[in-house]
């Protein structure tokens, strides 16, 4: 008996000591991990907390359903749905049979959140685990509950960023964010890059690209509109500015601390004074003003380059002006070039390859091939073998193309300076083997300069000049198109006309539906296979200038799209939503 008592005493005490020691160790461990997190990486703990979303049961516009504690999400996690930028979602809740039950779940006027937000919006929303991240002009960022519209946080641009944007008097366009490592990344209008805590909206890091590469400044003609891409720990960044004669570039920064991830930017054109810029020292261009696509199978990024500069005057930039209006394939880890293909050589019409190239596996002449495809502002479409750059299809025209010799009175040039296909992205449906291209049919009037006075000026005498009246706006009919190209043979399967020039872009679903918005503020669904109109919804917005993003929560499918114009907004649709339409 006595022995047993002792055994219990000893055993009990041993257990107590073990418990105390374990508790003590856990306390130390927790403290340490908090400290390390603060110092090193703020991402992981927040990410780990993601699944708990107890407050998400109030969805006013929807039929109330019992929600499981851990909601299931299918995300639109990067600019073009996937890193390949196919814009094709596998979701099947919305079908051709029920698409007319779509209605508005929530919408938000950005100016109601901050009256300083400028007009216009070209933001492509990203939705991750029920949170929607969207930007506005002048680099405001909002995180909303994606199904209720409740604001979770906002990031407002610091005053010095606003000052820089105002000094340029440019539209303060921004096309969206990238998300990774628990952070939201945005390229800022001061030629900068910011990382924002994904949970709190607090700034983590904010750099100017000129901190590392001193020529990348607004004073040198660079400006920013593009969204970044996050892949494999790196943020991929380009810029606008071809029309100002900048030297175009693409660069990778580390998501962890925004330090350079490549040794040098990938400069798309030679330095001033060399090659085709030897005589035209004020030239340049080849800016990468849309996000790259990524082939994760081969660790390759593909990006499109803009026009050479000067844009309409080519005499002092002889030759093809290589790498402008081109698709360039580059190793994601190093920035080393793999291949390049030029769409328009010695461009005189501002025919950038603007839209991001997309990557997909299609059936071509009966065989599966992985290709990179691009539609250009010049109104033509190409596809190349993704690995080798070998041409699969070339110069397939989807717009009217006509370049008569310019006269002093002016001639109509097709396509106009808007394209063709501008930045508005295409979509690829792998089941139908069709790529759908959003097109613009709006010619420009181009005049040859007839200014004989120049000869006098150049002789050195001082010559006074002043203002004159702006040339009248081009009074020509413009409209849009959606063109479906069959990858099997490169033939145009169909082309439909849309009321307005296509500025937003397309998104398709596994149920054979393609969605897009128009300049009228109308959101439309068409049958991907035929182009037949299936659904229209007039939003309270206007000038839709970005494509829809589609995501699900607990199997329910939602469509988010921004509208621009004087009163920029975001609209989210789902089956069973409010069918009341705007004016």
């Amino acid at each position: 008996m006595k022995n047993r008592k002792i055994i219990w005493w000893v055993g009990g005490f041993a257990l107590l000591v073990i418990i105390v020691v374990i508790a003590w160790q856990m306390a130390i461990y927790n403290n340490t991990s908090v400290q390390q997190t603060d110092e090193v990486e703020q991402a992981e703990p927040e990410e780990a907390e993601e699944p708990e979303k107890p407050e998400e049961s109030k969805e006013p516009e929807e039929p109330v359903t019992e929600e499981p504690e851990d909601a299931a999400y299918e995300n639109w996690s990067t600019f073009g749905y996937d890193l390949e930028l196919t814009r094709h979602v596998p979701f099947s809740e919305i079908t051709k049979d029920n698409v007319n039950d779509l209605g508005l779940v929530w919408s938000q006027k950005f100016k109601e959140l901050n009256e300083n937000i400028p007009a216009g919006n070209q933001s492509f929303p990203i939705i991750i685990d029920g949170v929607l991240y969207v930007t506005t002009g002048a680099n405001y960022v909002f995180a909303f509950d994606a199904v209720t519209g409740e604001e979770k946080w906002r990031w407002e641009p610091p005053q010095d960023l606003i000052d820089t944007l105002e000094r340029q008097s440019m539209p303060m366009t921004n096309r969206g964010v990238a998300v990774g490592e628990g952070k939201v990344f945005m390229i800022t209008g001061d030629i900068g890059l910011v990382s924002i805590d994904q949970e709190t909206g607090e700034t983590v890091d904010h750099i100017l690209l000129s901190d590392y590469f001193p020529t990348l400044t607004p004073e040198n003609g660079y400006y920013e509109t593009t969204a970044p891409i996050y892949y494999d720990g790196k943020i991929f960044v380009g810029s606008s500015g071809s029309d100002n004669g900048v030297r175009g570039f693409e660069m990778a920064f580390n998501g962890s601390d925004l330090t350079p991830a490549w040794d040098e930017p990938f400069w798309t054109v030679p330095p001033k004074g060399e090659e085709w810029l030897a005589e035209g020292l004020f030239g340049g261009g080849g800016a990468v003003w849309m996000p790259p696509s990524v082939d994760t199978e081969t660790n390759t990024i593909y990006f499109a380059t803009g026009n050479p500069a000067p844009d309409f005057y080519g005499e002092k930039r002889p030759g093809d002006n290589p790498h402008t209006n081109s698709i360039i394939a580059v190793e994601a880890d190093t920035g080393k070039m793999k291949w390049v293909n030029q769409q328009v050589s010695h461009d005189l019409w501002d025919y950038d390859s603007g839209d991001s190239p997309s990557i997909f596996t299609a059936t071509i002449n009966g065989e599966e091939r992985r290709v990179v495809a691009e539609g250009s502002k010049g109104g033509e479409w190409w596809a190349w073998d993704a690995e080798t750059g070998e041409t699969v299809y070339e110069n397939i025209a989807f717009s009217k193309i006509d370049h008569p010799d310019p006269t002093e009175e002016g001639t109509l040039v097709y396509p106009g300076i808007l394209g063709g296909q501008n930045y508005a992205p295409d979509t690829f449906d792998p089941e139908l083997n069709l790529v759908l291209i959003p097109g613009i049919e709006a010619p420009s009037i181009i005049k040859v300069a007839g200014n004989e006075q120049e000869a006098v000026e150049k002789n050195g005498s001082v010559w006074a000049f002043g203002t004159s009246y702006a040339a009248p706006a081009d009074d020509v009919e413009s409209y849009g198109t959606v063109t479906a190209i069959d990858l099997e043979n490169g033939d145009i399967a169909y082309q439909i006309k849309t009321d307005d020039a296509m500025r937003g872009g397309l998104t398709s679903t596994a149920t054979g539906i393609t969605f897009f918005g128009e300049l009228s503020g109308n959101v439309q669904a068409i049958d991907t296979a035929t182009g037949e109109n299936l659904w229209n919804f007039q939003t309270s917005g206007e000038t839709i200038s970005a494509a829809p993003s589609i995501f699900t929560k607990n199997g329910k499918q939602y469509i988010a799209i921004t509208s621009a114009g004087r009163d920029p907004q975001i609209h989210v649709f789902a089956l069973g939503g409010d069918k009341a339409q705007g004016e």
């Binding site: 073990i18 003590w24 400290q35 008097s169 400006y223 040794d263 203002t467």
Partner: protein
């Protein structure tokens, strides 16, 4: 039985206490990670090897400028190795030119790309050895400090060859040096010339007093082109460089204290081509519209332009003057240098020139040393010429 249990109990207590001690040391180390090894447990020191000699080496350090290549082969791979007593140091962090940070692998190696198309003078240095190891062994504080002191330079420049040195015919204390930037076959030395023209002038308020801190911008109608000036100075002077284009409409705006002043509705500038211009602006007392006629808006052509090129200069003592021609496209140049200075075998530098010049210059023109830019820290210096 009791004895056995007591024995097991005390042994497990001892083990637990030992584990606590070890873990708490680990914790302290983790918490104080930023302080280089200060809290390394003394016991471990014995196992860390004492290192005599540390080394950072690069497989190339002096590269010549190559022409722009369409396949981007001007990006050249540079390999480096970090060792201690001849053994590779792994997991050390190396930074190139204050930019990318690279980790050494198990062989102590690292590599990076250098753009041979640009003049360069880059520092490659060891920046973090916190996780560095020699084989499986951690490093002593002394070794860490020694590694952190390591750095090497890598430069990209035009190698220089001197073909002749002759006494000057005009001044007997000068020598005339004929030299050449060595180029590859089919390579040309960068052109010197006009890169942009200037739009400049003054901004005054309605009383005629200069406005400091205003910026002027030009937007091209129909396309996304623009130019923006830095803020005006205390005299109201602003200047920006712009891209000459065909007969195009430009909108002119002045941004000052949050207000954007602009031309009357539907009015635009059509700037003359290929020439600088002076535009003096008087802002209105009320409203945001700039009256587009004198004296509120005065526009005239002006001399001068922004010039760009790559210059070659000599490292000489302050106060020493010499002359040099702007290199020709074949790389040749001529210098006139005091003989006493040349006899000291001065080294050369190369630097990018970008300045507004009232009077134009071109390749082959002789300029004084005061005209040359100083090399910035990223540009090659101390270039030793060869004799041709």
């Amino acid at each position: 039985m009791v004895k056995k249990l007591l024995f097991i109990f005390f042994m497990s207590m001892l083990l637990l206490l030992a584990a606590c001690k070890e873990t708490s040391n680990d914790q302290i180390e983790n918490v104080d990670k930023q302080e280089v090894g200060q809290k390394d447990s003394k016991e471990e020191q014995g196992e860390k090897s004492v290192v005599q000699d540390v080394s950072l080496s690069l497989d190339k350090q002096n590269l010549s400028v190559t022409p722009w290549q369409y396949d981007h082969s001007q990006l050249e791979e540079v390999k480096g190795v970090l060792t201690a007593d001849g053994k590779p140091v792994s997991d050390a962090e190396i930074q190139v030119d204050g930019k990318r940070v690279i980790k050494t692998d198990e062989t102590g190696s690292f590599n990076f790309m250098i753009d041979r198309n640009n003049l360069a003078n880059k520092i490659v240095q060891v920046v973090n050895v916190e996780d560095a190891k020699i084989g499986e062994s951690e490093l002593s504080d002394e070794t860490k400090h020694a590694l952190l002191s390591l750095s090497e330079n890598i430069t990209v420049n035009y190698p220089i060859e001197i073909s002749s040195v002759k006494p000057s015919k005009e001044k007997e204390d000068l020598v005339v040096v004929e030299g050449k930037a060595i180029l590859d076959e089919n390579q040309e030395y960068p052109a010197f010339g006009t890169s942009k023209y200037s739009v400049h002038g003054t901004i005054v308020d309605s009383e005629g007093d200069p406005i400091e801190g205003a910026t002027v911008n030009l937007r091209r109608d129909g396309v996304e082109g623009f130019t923006v000036s830095p803020p005006s100075n205390e005299y109201g002077e602003y200047q920006m460089m712009y891209l000459p284009e065909d007969d195009e409409d430009h909108y002119l705006n002045v941004v000052y204290e949050g207000t954007t002043y602009h031309l009357p509705d539907n009015k635009v500038f059509q700037f003359p081509e290929d020439i600088s211009v002076q535009v003096d602006i008087q802002l209105p007392n009320e409203g945001e519209v700039i009256t587009d006629e004198p004296p509120y808006l005065v526009s005239k052509t002006a001399p001068g332009a922004l010039y760009t090129g790559i210059m070659i200069g000599l490292h000489v003592d302050k106060g020493v003057e010499y002359s040099v021609t702007i290199p020709n496209r074949d790389g040749t140049f001529i210098m006139e240098v005091p003989k006493s200075v040349w006899d000291e075998s001065p080294t050369f530098y190369q630097a990018t020139f970008e300045s507004f010049l009232l009077e134009g210059k071109e390749s082959g023109d002789m300029v004084s040393s005061g005209f040359l830019p100083e090399p910035n820290e990223d540009e090659p210096t101390l270039i030793i010429p060869s004799e041709g």
